[in-house]
Amino acid sequence: MTARDLIPIAVLTVLAALLPLVVTSSPVLNFLVFMLIVALGAQGWNILGGFGGQFSFGHAAFFGTGAYVTAILQLRFGVNAWAGLVLATLAGAAVGWAIGFLSFRSGLRGSYFALVTLAFAEVFRILANAASVTGGAAGLLIKLDVHPANLQFGDRAVFYWLVLALVAAVLLLTRWIQRSRFGAQLVAVRENEDAAKALGVNSLTVKLRAIALSGGVTALSGCLYAQYFLYVDANIAYGSWISVELLLAPIIGGVGTVFGPVVGALTLHGLGEVAKQFAGRIPGIDLIVFGGVLVLAVAFARGGILGLLERVRDRGRGMMARGPKEVSHADR
């Protein structure tokens, strides 16, 4: 990775880190933390879906695993919350690897893979709703005990900085993927699996690594969610709402790009909040906005917002030799 790869990440992280010094209202900070948690989960989805081309409709399976693992470890086994964070991430990676092993080994691709992931998430949801270890339908309350050692902070800004630091870390991870042999092979598998195999790419291993990384990152976001709201139940953790959120953000922002998931999450939730401010009495107005933005993105910005910006920039330079479908994924 060169300085040119790292500077944008550093600049944006520093700017975002300064935000709590200006904004002190709790609702706004709440919104920012939630938005960043979604962005982090979406970054996880993007590793598998964006770079690997394996569209999952069930990333709730990882998000929920992260949330439940940390909650159960703390409540039932008295494990420290920070250790819970690490173990939840590892559990997400393990679940990812297992789901990947079962589906990729049987050669599932495209819509079949999407359906299988959806099924896994639903099975987890039903099991979590029924089992006693997960608190059944009542869910689990993480004990309120504000202390940095418990990953609970008196000041919301501290949690914001923590999530931001993790988002920045995954931005770096994604940039590394983009510049590495692993990333090149992953993208090759996305573009044409047979051609990749002929060039010596072990497509099964590459996809398993991607889904394990993806599951780990998304589980981390689920763990942070549980830790911030101190509550988790089956419909929050394994609900299809989060699967949809995690795939919408990268698609809106720019699939297979480093910043796409963050840009998408910010755009979606930003617009959703604005809509709620103006038409808060209409229930579900933010979801209507999500739908509208998705339609616009699919119709007019195939590469998401970042893809659109790049095309505008290219057009500005008079470089229309590249058609919209031929835009390289490398520079974004």
Binding site: R179, S180, R181, A184, Q185, V187, A188, R190, E191, N192, D194, A195, A196, K197, A198, L199, G200, V201, N202, S203, A321, R322, G323, K325, E326, V327, S328, H329, A330
Partner: protein, 248 residues
């Protein structure tokens, strides 16, 4: 170097390849010709690991590779191109070739350098940063060749790299293939362009209806009665001979 021993492939009721046997010494260019549907590409797919043979053994440098995955065979040094070109359309030419180069070079800088070198060798030096989806047919054929070369193969399987090219493009690419051979890469090529086969190949195998019907130097094979009849139908060889005598 490569031994294909009595290999067969059955697709349902169709015997696509019927106990074909072929053996390659290190170095040189060998041709694999035959009428359409003879099973040439299926044989290639079995050698490169994309199709599992129903019967028979494939050996590469002494090792039995019959059941090995395609990527393992690429690691061993078997490179292939696809008859229907398979570019990574969303990537640039350089990135496409780098995927192949990453097989032997773990670092990005090394893989990119290798990709650039290979691109210049096959005449894609000017297109390095173009998206692969925007290349012409000739460009895509060169890209197939470049990607396979970037894996630094010992044996290169070329599946109709000249098909769809015009005569001047063929003239441009023949020296490239010869150059690859001169560097010590063994080449097995499926080809319909007979001018190129005659020009390039030291030996030719002829496959017809799944069976290996002839082998030898191209000039000898092309005069073989069975080969002529495989292409032109039963009795064609005798007719040609009679016509030749009449005109002579």
């Amino acid at each position: 170097m490569l031994t294909v021993d009595g290999v067969s492939k059955r697709f349902g009721g169709l015997m696509a390849v019927d106990s074909a046997t072929l053996s390659l010494q290190s170095g040189g260019i060998t041709g694999l010709i035959g009428p359409n549907g003879a099973g040439k590409t299926t044989l290639f797919s079995m050698i490169s690991g994309f199709v599992a043979p129903t019967d028979g053994r494939i050996r590469f440098e002494g090792a039995d590779i019959t059941a090995e995955e395609p990527h393992r065979r690429a690691e061993r040094g078997i490179g292939r191109t696809f008859q229907i070109v398979q570019p990574f359309a969303g990537l640039t030419v350089c990135e496409n070739i780098a995927v192949g180069a990453y097989l032997r070079h773990a670092k990005r800088a090394d893989a990119t350098a290798k990709a650039r070198e290979v691109a210049h060798r096959v005449g894609l030096g000017a297109e390095l940063d173009r998206p692969a989806g925007g290349l012409t047919v000739a460009g895509r054929k060169r890209l197939e060749l470049a990607r396979a070369l970037a894996t630094e193969p010992k044996l290169l399987l070329l599946d109709e790299v000249l098909a769809g090219l015009n005569p001047s493009e063929i003239r441009d690419i023949i020296p490239v293939i010869r150059g690859i051979r001169d560097e010590g890469v063994t080449i097995l090529m499926i080809e319909h362009v007979m001018q190129a086969v005659m020009n390039l190949c030291e030996r030719v195998y002829v496959l017809a209806q799944g069976r290996m019907i002839a082998e030898g130097p191209p000039a000898v094979v092309c005069a073989d009665t069975r080969v002529i009849e495989a292409y032109l139908g039963h009795g064609a060889a005798a007719r040609l001979k009679a016509e030749g005598a009449a005109h002579g």
